[in-house]
Symmetry: C2
Subunit: 141 residues, 2 copies
DNA sequence: TATAAACCTGAGTAAAATAGTCAAGTATAT
DNA sequence: ATATACTTGACTATTTTACTCAGGTTTATA
């Protein structure tokens, strides 16, 4: 079970962006330099974040990105959802009555993985971008 | 973030095995048929489980595997550890003072991922094989 | 109005991880 | 003897990841 770079970078970039929230748009180039993430890769990620209305883009010179919603209202779960970093523990289709083994009942471990999925998602639903920015500025004092 | 087949199968196979605990050794062939897991793959998995003393093998005809420890004392975390299904959220080496970005401080999200890792591992440390077997037999009543 | 900064889009690709298979054994109950 | 079942190690196809690359378009500003 591991976190992918895409998810990790998305959050990292947004924390960076959120720290300058509403002062100026932040260019991907700056984020790229500060956080050591490839610019081209960031563009892919921000394209998805924009489509899910987490950030807003401002084109042209002096352009960049700003948050579209308040940092408090952006949960980790929204970010992960936007970049397709999904938690997948069960093998079967949840809606189907069939199990992952192809049989007509769910497998011996289905409930367990379902519980695990909820356990992890709870964590993501609780954390907001604001929390992350705060945690970070506290560390710096 | 997803669970691999190896981890999923390891737990599934052990729940199957634990249900017959100490009556008879259970052959991998039987588990393979009941759970729909390739026999060859099961062999790989049980080789690891044996090395970590979670199961014990009995060779020859009528042979198979039995649990080496009590089901109550086998936690999910032990199983996952045995088959190298590890939870990996941070990118950097935890011991190192360097960050995942190559800089001399930890990145903006390091603490977050560390918390997440603990959150997930807590789940694995709480659940024992006994719990899983019970959950399952209850469902059947 | 020329220019450069910055966003935008889609395709392509190398490397890594996963999910197995395959082959050739050894041990033991019957 | 023989069939059942564990043991071991190598090998491979597929999928996923983590990017790169090549072209755009928009807009502030000199
Ligand atoms: S994971 Fe859902 S049936 Fe096995
Ligand atoms: S994950 Fe540890 S420094 Fe970034």
């Amino acid at each position: 079970m591991k976190l992918t770079s895409k998810g990790r970078y998305a959050v990292m970039a947004l924390v960076d962006l959120a720290r300058f929230d509403n002062i100026n748009p932040v260019s991907l180039r700056d984020i790229s330099l500060r956080q050591g993430i490839s610019l081209d890769y960031l563009e892919q990620i921000f394209s998805k974040l924009r489509k899910k209305e987490i950030v807003q883009s401002i084109r042209g010179t002096q352009g960049g990105y700003i948050l579209k919603r308040k940092a408090k209202e952006i949960k980790l779960t929204n970010i992960f959802d936007a970049v397709d970093e999904k938690v997948k523990t069960v093998q079967c289709k949840k809606e189907s009555k069939k199990g992952c083994n192809g049989k007509s009942t769910k497998c011996l471990t289905h409930n367990l993985w379902d519980e695990l999925e909820n356990h992890i998602n709870n964590f993501f639903e609780e954390k907001s971008l604001e929390d992350l920015v705060k945690d970070n500025s506290e560390r710096r004092i």
